[in-house]
């Protein structure tokens, strides 16, 4: 096991991701995890307040270590949330190293790599000289010198409800005991009504609502749908300009808990499921940078009805670094 000693005030929050082919290194990055993988760091923070709600609003530190484990998980990056001068442990999240594949994938694409490639992840301490060299190279840009960056500051989230909320019915009983997508009855009715009548455009919405934490479960409760202005950009895809998304996000603020959209039932005769495409995953990544909440991503197929919702509607969310299908529930109240 690769162990790094926790030092007072020294966060261990850097991750080296290297990619290569045929035993030859092609490139590497050193990520500062709060901005390098926002959804993963947020999940750890929310698990920490789920374990102890009294810690909400406190500053915290991210500590990581690589743990060599046998299959089926293989090597694991153990992420820990710690707080205070004594670095008291709040929560632990073991993440299989393979779950950082999306980072490696983007690197491979940037490097124009073809075919099969390998990637490797390793934890680095923020006071590692290698990290210092990396930061110096990136800070000393010839055009613009960075003097302050708030992206690395970590504060445990608050603004959630601790009660279990009203009774719910399950629309999609996906596996998972942590993250749930919940609609109020009115919001679900609006979403399904839009899907039922749509046959050509991937309409999309921001979901405003609140977060419920109870019994170790995180529920993103969608109360209101805010339709996003969109321009048709091609067959079965639309674009919302940054200026329009910025205006929408400013209006919702910390109540942003979801991004919803519709899918056609097939693309060029290929059946499509209510699951995120690679473009949808890019949106999810950016949504996660713009809200302190763990967001959820419901998708409904064109023509979905309330009666046939199961199979035609599904929700996904980031769990352990992967965009996975999660349980979808609807409350009974209006």
């Amino acid at each position: 096991m690769n162990t790094l000693t926790v030092k007072d005030g020294t966060a261990v929050n850097r991750l080296l991701v290297a990619v290569g082919q045929e035993d030859s290194l092609a490139g590497y990055r050193i990520l500062e995890m709060p901005t390098g993988f926002p959804a993963l760091v947020k999940e750890l923070a929310w698990r920490a307040v789920a374990a102890d709600a009294s810690k909400a609003g406190r500053p915290w530190q991210l500590h990581m270590r690589r743990d060599e484990r046998a299959e089926p998980t293989g090597p694991v990056i153990v992420m820990e949330a710690r707080t205070g001068a004594d670095a008291a442990l709040l929560a632990v999240l073991p993440v299989p190293a393979r779950n950082f594949g999306c980072i490696a994938d983007a690197m491979a694409r940037e490097l124009n790599m073809k075919g099969t490639y390998q990637f490797y992840v390793q934890v680095l301490s923020s006071d590692d000289p290698f990290v210092g060299e990396w930061d110096d190279r990136r800070r000393g840009d010839a055009d613009f010198e960075i003097v302050a960056d708030t992206g690395s500051e970590l504060v445990l989230p608050g603004g959630f409800t601790a009660s279990p909320g009203t009774e719910r019915r399950t629309v999609d009983p996906a596996d998972g005991d942590w993250l749930r997508c919940v609609f109020t009855a009115g919001a679900f009715g609006e979403f399904i009504a839009a899907a039922e009548t749509e046959h050509s455009v991937e309409r999309h919405w921001a979901g405003a609502g609140h977060v419920e934490l109870s019994d170790g479960v995180y529920r993103a409760v969608i109360e209101r749908l805010v339709e996003l202005p969109a321009e048709a950009a091609g067959k079965a895809w639309v674009v919302t300009r940054g200026r329009d998304w910025s205006r929408c996000q400013a209006g919702i603020g910390d109540a942003l808990v979801a991004y919803l959209h519709l899918h056609p039932r097939e693309i060029e005769t290929r059946p499509i499921r209510p699951a995120p495409s690679s473009n949808d995953a890019v949106i999810a990544w950016n949504i996660e940078t713009s809200t302190p909440n763990l967001a959820v991503y419901p998708i409904a197929l064109f023509g979905a009805t309330a009666d046939a919702a199961a199979g035609d509607v599904a929700a996904h969310g980031y769990v352990n670094g992967l965009l996975k299908r999660i349980p979808l529930e609807v409350t009974h109240d209006e």
């Binding site: 901005t35 999306c102 992206g151 674009v239 910025s246 890019v282």
Partner: protein, 89 residues
């Protein structure tokens, strides 16, 4: 007109920001914004906005920027086509 040494602040939706100093006033907004967008965890395409939400031209030189606060606002493109990738840090 912005000068060498003048500070600019780049904001990311959600409250985070990066503040820095101009070293090359002739550099384009696009070149600086691209680096900061990836550093800040944004993926895909985005627009640079002034505080009123107006779009700033990517080719605009830092010396010609009408504001010292720029927001990086990602574009949302739901589609069933593999095109954009995640940031790599």
């Amino acid at each position: 007109m912005n000068k060498i040494g003048q500070e600019l602040t780049f904001k990311i939706l959600g409250g985070k920001s990066v503040r820095g100093k101009i070293r090359n006033a002739n550099a384009s907004l696009a070149s600086v914004a691209e680096t900061l967008a990836r550093r800040s965890g944004l993926a895909g395409t985005y627009e640079c906005l002034d505080p009123d939400g107006q779009v700033l031209a990517p080719e605009c030189r830092l010396s010609d920027l009408p504001t010292d606060t720029i927001t990086l606002a990602p574009e949302l493109t739901p589609a069933f086509r593999a095109s954009c990738g995640f940031p790599a840090g």
